[in-house]
């Protein structure tokens, strides 16, 4: 019985954490949340710049 009660407490704790994490992730007025999102966007932009920008615009067109 006490094991089931502890399990219930653990589950509700996890649910609470997930709920607050979702609230944090969707709160557009939160500075720390915006900071993390924009840092992630910056890192993604750097990855795109380093890996997806090496196409040669002046190369001849392939023959069809």
């Amino acid at each position: 019985m006490s094991g089931a009660g502890a399990k219930k407490g653990l589950t509700s704790g996890v649910m609470e954490w997930v709920g607050s994490a979702c609230k944090f992730a969707t709160d557009r007025t939160d500075f720390r949340r915006n900071l993390l999102v924009n840092l992630g966007l910056f890192a993604a932009g750097v990855w795109v710049a380093r890996n997806l920008s090496d196409f040669d615009l002046m190369s001849p067109q392939p023959l069809t």
Binding site: F31, N34, L35, V37, N38, L39, L41, F42, G45, V46, V48, A49, R50, S53, D54, F55, D56, L57, M58
Partner: protein, 340 residues
């Protein structure tokens, strides 16, 4: 950089129509100042030997560290702008600018640039004097002079009609592997106010430069200081720069993908305003088509682009620009023609 054309005011296609130029010395590239070049990193097997042997070069100035990335992004344009540039001699150039704007003021601006005869380098001559005045009498002027082989000075003033708004003087010392600068802004001995800015940038390795900035401001009843630190890493075809200070942080990444394509990524965080922004920009340069295209998108849902096309054989450059703010549902476009 010291030629008349290089010392001219910034291209109108790259500035918002109808707005006055930025405070002299605080935003534009001053004539006579050179950009640090993107240096190559030696092969991995010889890197340690190369690092030990390679002399440390001057790292450039503190303000130029983020500039390479900033230049990739398009400038907002609004209204119509016509610019006529005329070189009167090898040392003197004038420009006439007419702006028609719905948001800002419409008017006429006369600009002139003088480059002296003291040549310090292949593309640098001093003194350089740049000035422009609009139809209301507001003046922007700056004088740059190389005092010695290592010391350069600049004086800049800005007036709004008859009233002096900004006046500043700075001294820059370029050493073998460092640059230091002191700027005195709006000093007023009678009131007891002013701003002092100190910069220092040191080359640590051929690729890494570290530096700092100290801003001290004083006015009656109030004084304070702000410091920030800067680090710049230069690779084969990229430059990564980070500035951290009490007011926030600023990170830029510049990547030269090919001769035609350059990409810039920027991150800004302002702890005072509690705002952060991430921006992505690219520049497409197709010299065979005389075309320059810049585009940008940022985390505030702003999308923008500018296009510049030289209409050869005529000495004409056409500039088109448009910015769309999806979040605020606002659209802004501009059109400019430069002759000469």
């Amino acid at each position: 950089m010291g030629s008349v054309l290089a010392a001219a005011s910034p291209s109108p296609a790259s500035a918002a129509a109808g707005g006055s130029p930025g405070v002299p010395g605080l935003g534009s590239v001053p004539p006579g100042f050179a950009m640090p070049s993107v240096s190559s990193v030696p092969a991995a097997s010889d890197q340690q030997t190369a690092d030990a042997d390679a002399p440390l070069l001057n790292p450039g100035t503190y303000e130029e560290c983020h500039r390479k990335c900033k230049e990739v992004f398009p400038q907002q344009m609004e209204g119509v702008r016509l610019v006529v540039n005329k070189g009167l001699s090898n040392h003197f150039q004038v420009s006439h600018t007419v702006t028609l704007s719905t948001l800002g003021d419409s008017g006429y601006r006369f600009g002139s640039t003088y480059v002296g005869t003291k040549q310090t380098g292949p593309a640098e001559s001093f003194p350089v004097m740049v000035g422009d005045m609009d139809n209301t009498g507001s003046l922007n002027a700056q004088i740059i002079h190389q005092l010695t082989s290592a010391v350069r000075s600049k004086i800049a003033i800005q007036t709004q009609q008859h009233k002096f708004v900004n006046w500043q003087c700075d001294l820059e010392w370029r050493g073998e592997n460092f640059t230091s600068a002191v700027t005195l802004g709006n000093p007023d001995v009678l009131v007891g106010s002013g701003i002092v800015v100190g910069h220092y940038l040191q080359s640590i390795t051929p690729a890494l430069a570290l530096g700092g900035e100290l801003v001290y401001h004083k006015r009656p009843g109030e004084e304070g200081a702000v410091t920030s630190l800067l680090g710049r890493y230069t690779g084969d075809n990229f430059i990564a720069t980070l500035t951290l200070g009490g007011a926030g942080g600023h990170a830029t990444y510049y990547h030269k993908a090919t001769d035609q394509l350059q990409v810039g990524v920027e991150f800004e965080a302002n702890t005072r305003m509690q705002e952060t922004t991430a921006s992505f920009g690219y520049q497409l340069d197709v010299p065979k088509a005389n075309l320059l295209f810049k585009g940008t998108v940022d985390s505030n849902w702003v999308v923008g682009a500018t296009l510049e096309k030289k209409l050869l054989p005529l000495p004409l450059t056409l500039a088109l620009g448009a910015f769309l703010n999806h979040r605020k549902n606002k659209f802004q476009c501009g059109f400019g023609v430069t002759i000469g």
